[in-house]
Symmetry: C2
Subunit: 212 residues, 2 copies
């Protein structure tokens, strides 16, 4: 009987650890191969255990994928939550951009997993997108619109501003193969330093309010 079925509520230390290992391995495999391209075999091998063992802990391949996605969504939007009405507008937005960029640098597999999910039509995320995420984005967009109206930053569509931050930062994680194919050989972090400089400059110019 699998643990998923038994599910006595409490989780032992060994269960937590094994699940951890499996999720790590699954992230490696899913992020590159996608849900359909990944096989239980590959995940099991990456996790250093047998295929039935993986099933024992999660019940099904889809369950692992769903679990990864679920725990990811929360982390993924967290930088936006911290954008505060009370801070300096320019600083708040640039800080948000930088935190997203750091996430791309430090969690490229997570970024790719999320990207693949959306790209394929977000079958198991759509509800969250148009629910919690929309609520959050609308809320923060309102803050930005406020700054805009007060003349503290330039007049621009706050939703599209947020999209542009997503697009630009995630690009460096999701399409890193392309980026690195074109750029001269740069060590992992150097690329992100370049990106930081460019994006900081770009968003600074974009946000700077027109002279009154």
């Amino acid at each position: 009987m699998t643990i998923a079925q038994r599910n006595t509520g409490k989780e032992t230390r060994i269960q937590r650890e094994k699940r951890e290992v499996i999720l790590k391995a699954a992230l490696d495999v899913f992020s590159i191969q996608g849900l359909r391209g990944a096989t239980l075999e590959k995940i099991a091998e990456a996790a250093g255990m047998s295929k039935p063992h993986v099933i024992y802990y999660f019940g099904s391949k889809d369950a692992i994928y769903a679990r990864l996605l679920e725990s990811l969504l929360e982390i993924w939007v967290s930088p936006l939550r911290d954008l505060s009405r009370d801070g300096d507008p320019m600083t708040e937005i640039l800080t948000y951009m930088r935190r997203k960029l750091k996430m791309s640098r430090d969690m490229p597999r997570e970024s790719k997993l999320f990207a693949t999910e959306i790209l394929h039509g977000a079958p198991r995320t759509k509800a969250t997108l148009s629910g919690d995420l929309k609520t959050l984005v609308d809320e923060k967009a309102a803050i930005i619109a406020g700054w805009s109206a007060e003349g503290k930053i330039a007049r621009l569509d706050p939703h599209h501003l947020i999209f542009s931050i997503w697009a630009m930062t995630q690009h460096y994680a999701d399409f890193d193969v392309q980026v690195r194919s074109i750029l001269p050989e740069t060590g992992g972090d150097a690329l992100f330093d370049e990106a930081d400089a460019f994006l900081t400059s770009m968003f600074t110019r974009t946000l700077r309010p027109a002279k009154a």
Copy 2:
């Protein structure tokens, strides 16, 4: 015997038409489901023919995918080829951005196909990326760097500028599900009109040279 095997060199009208139909159907299926998620069955159904018939014309599923990708790459970079040293710098770059945005609007399936390929590590495109594409990008980046040095546009890294155009424009095609989940209901083209306005404004501010 399949046509792919026989391959007498010449292609009849009926062959061209059937291949066309199959490629169209395959694009529909691949762009949403990915290479592994798509099945010959689905492609055949979408093309209105039997599974062996699809094999008859292309030999294998992978061959269809490869063919789609190949013919796509050329189209995909063509707007960049038109960026000319002789034009007005700001106009040239904004025009390039707009053409890319239009491609996202008019060819979202192609955009997603390409995105998925890169996301999964570009296994069959890497050579082209670091070859022809890199050459082209380096060439155009040099033009932009020239404009930059002459003070006709702001000082900025031309490679990252190009990446930013890719990232922003493709975002609206590849992540349209997310974008539309968050934005209030807007008809297909209205979204791209908004995006056009935002991006034009963003890149104008980014590129405008600092006062001498």
